[in-house]
């Protein structure tokens, strides 16, 4: 994989990648709108519907988080059926050549604001699959990751902890990966194209 120069910090648990300070080109400069955004942030943070794209083995920890042992519905989180309804995209593990296309397609179908949560070292730098032929090592080259959760695989406690951190970030208006994606769309697109060739494949199986 070609390495892209991009300043980034990695921290083990629940840290965002606020890599570039997004120059805030506000939709409306009025204070009213800002105040309303704050309220809206509260609602967004406390009603997170997620779409878990189970790319890797990390996904196996999610059932525990959802069911009675850890019960993420406490935080207002629910699994959803389709990307249109969802707010968070959970990338549970490594992204391979085949899954990345679907990940991008799915991500672009989600409504804004939307957040990406990546699980495990596989999404950070390839983890134990870093030298596998089909695994793409760095997810944040292709999609704007708002939060990483560490652990191979992350324990349910870590997942819950990560979700809480995500809620804090959204509430304070810091989870702005989707804006970054819109702003640097061309950059992301070129990375994506470089990695998988054609993002939306046209071949005999699909037509």
């Amino acid at each position: 994989m070609p390495k892209k120069e991009r300043p980034s910090r990695f921290h083990p648990v629940s840290h965002t990648m606020q890599t570039v300070e997004v120059p805030t080109e506000k939709i409306s400069p009025q204070e009213q709108a800002e105040a309303w955004e704050k309220i809206a942030h509260y609602f967004r943070a406390n009603s997170l519907w997620m779409l878990n794209y189970c790319t890797g083995c990390c996904a196996i920890e999610l059932p525990l988080v959802m069911t009675s042992q850890y019960d993420m519905e406490r935080l207002g989180m629910m699994p959803m059926a389709t990307p249109r309804q969802a707010d968070i995209l959970l990338v549970t593990g490594y992204a391979s050549l085949k899954t990345l296309r679907r990940l991008i397609y799915t991500y672009e179908q989600m409504g804004t604001p939307k957040y990406v949560v990546a699980f495990g070292p596989c999404a950070v730098n390839g983890g134990i699959y870093h030298d596998a032929y089909a695994v793409l090592n760095r997810l944040d080259l292709y999609l704007p990751v708002d939060l990483y959760i560490a652990g191979c695989m992350p324990k349910p406690e870590a997942v819950m902890n990560g979700f809480k951190r995500l809620i804090e970030l959204i509430e304070s208006g810091q989870a702005t990966g989707w804006k970054d994606y819109e702003r640097r769309f061309d950059w992301y697109k070129s990375n994506q194209l470089e990695a998988v060739g054609e993002v939306y494949i046209h071949d005999e199986f699909h037509e």
Binding site: Y105, Q109, I201, H202, H206
Partner: protein, 608 residues
Amino acid sequence: MNIIHLILGLFLAGIAAYGIGRLKPAAASWLTLAASWAALLILFLGGDTLAGGNAWGLLAFKMTPLGWFFSMTLLFVYSTNTFFNLSVPAAPTRQAAYPMLYLISLASTIGVFSAENWLALFIFWEIVLWSSTFMIGFGKPGRGSIIYFGMSLLGSFMMLFAILVMGTAYQTFEVKGALMAAAQSPGPALLVFLLMLFSAMVKLGITPFHIWMPEAYHEAPDHFAPVLAGGLSKLGAFTALMVTSFLPASTLMAQPWQVRGLPLLTYILLTVSAVSIVIGTLMAIKQEDAKKLLAYSSVANSGYIMIGMLMGTPMSVSGALVHLLAHALATTVTFMVMAAVARQTGTTRMDELGGLLHRMPITFLAFLTAILSLVGLPPMLGFVSKWLILQSLASQGLFLVAAAAIFGSIGSLLYAFRILSTVFLGQLKPKHRQVREAPAVLLIPLLLLSGVTLVLGIYPYGLVQYTAKIENSLGFADTVQITGLSIQGNNGNLNALLIMGAFAIGFLIALGIFLKAPKSRKVDLMDTYTGGEFIYSPELYSYSTNFFAPLERVYAGLPEISRLYEALANRVRDLGTLVQYLFFSPLPSRTALLISVVTILLIWGEAI
């Protein structure tokens, strides 16, 4: 200007149209348009007091409120449909007779509705039948027109027989008079009642006489199907209502057997109508062709009309009349839309269509209005009539019939959604990307008819008042009541304006919320959730064939009535073969023997 002038004028215009049509087909279509709109105007201005007349002391005509109501309904259907005649692409020469037959059948329907004499009524009835048979024959090749003609002939025979029975028993052919006389003295009245009703049921398409409907509607030319479906089948309702109101079953049959205050016979007939609703609904759900689906929905809706007339309470008869108008308007629109769709895309098969809403938005809106009216949802006219009929059923406590009516009402939601979804919603087929909105000539009648459906649905008071007038003229003791803006039912009131108001307020609130929230991004139809899969073939990415398969599995074993008719036809054919074998052999000696036997029988037959 009296009725005779009107009818005669239309006849002459029809003959003129034939002559002009031989030279210049387009001009003939314009003539049908001008003549039918002129007739509509005359009838509308003349009202139900339009002067009657007596031609050569033989054919007497008189306009009654009932006749005016029916004539207006049919004239409206006919005259709006003339716009579709205009759009017919250069008709083949054998269709030059089409404008003539169109106008002649129109003239004859007015004749049916205003004739004072049963024989005149019958003659006009037959002219309508013959001309429409030919017009159906101009469409797709098939058995449609033959089945239509055969079934209608059965109806005509029954009607003629009833007329002759009345004539011999009561010495009169006068329409009202004969029925009144029958009501006075039972005698053959029951026979007349049943025969008349059966012949009406054939025309209305009530089970088991409905088999002609899907075939004929399917095969009729697209520009004639609206008239056939929305107009001509209503002829049956006219005679049926005459019979049930002047010859009420309650005086006819003073048998001991009564079900919920109704004579057993009426109850049986009600059940037959209820079966018609159920069968029409179930069959409509199954169809793959849009026109056949709509035909079966007509079978179901005729059941409602029949139920309303048979119950014979003021409210139910009002319901039947309003339903008749609502169904005429709505069905005409749906068939017109199908004609427009067929014109633009070349098919009416539902699995070949889809997504046309994005190409033909105005047609879609008209269709939506009509479909809502067919289902009976407010604020359309169909709601008012269904409300009236269900109210009467509830107050009569006819649960079996009510169950069928509910079933049909919910079932109509199913097939209505099916046709809406497979023709207008869903994915646009790639070959239909270039389809354009129907030309303005075709949009005029669509908007006119659906507009009337909507306006009458919001403000039905004038119409219901008129049905009260009809009931008065038919000799009902009391009529449906309207106070202010509410229609008084037996156990509840209806204020259509209020319902529309509540809906409008709700719509404004919804619109407010919608506009306040952030604006949406418009995406392509193919940009849908596919589970992350890439799909590029819209023609396969839709759900339209075998739409209600799970439900169809539930009633897959239902016997089809057309099988019975086919079996009967086969028996007749077998008999024919037998006769042919026995008597029409190539051997001259056998023929000679046959002739001599017949001669002997003729000569000595009396004595034997």
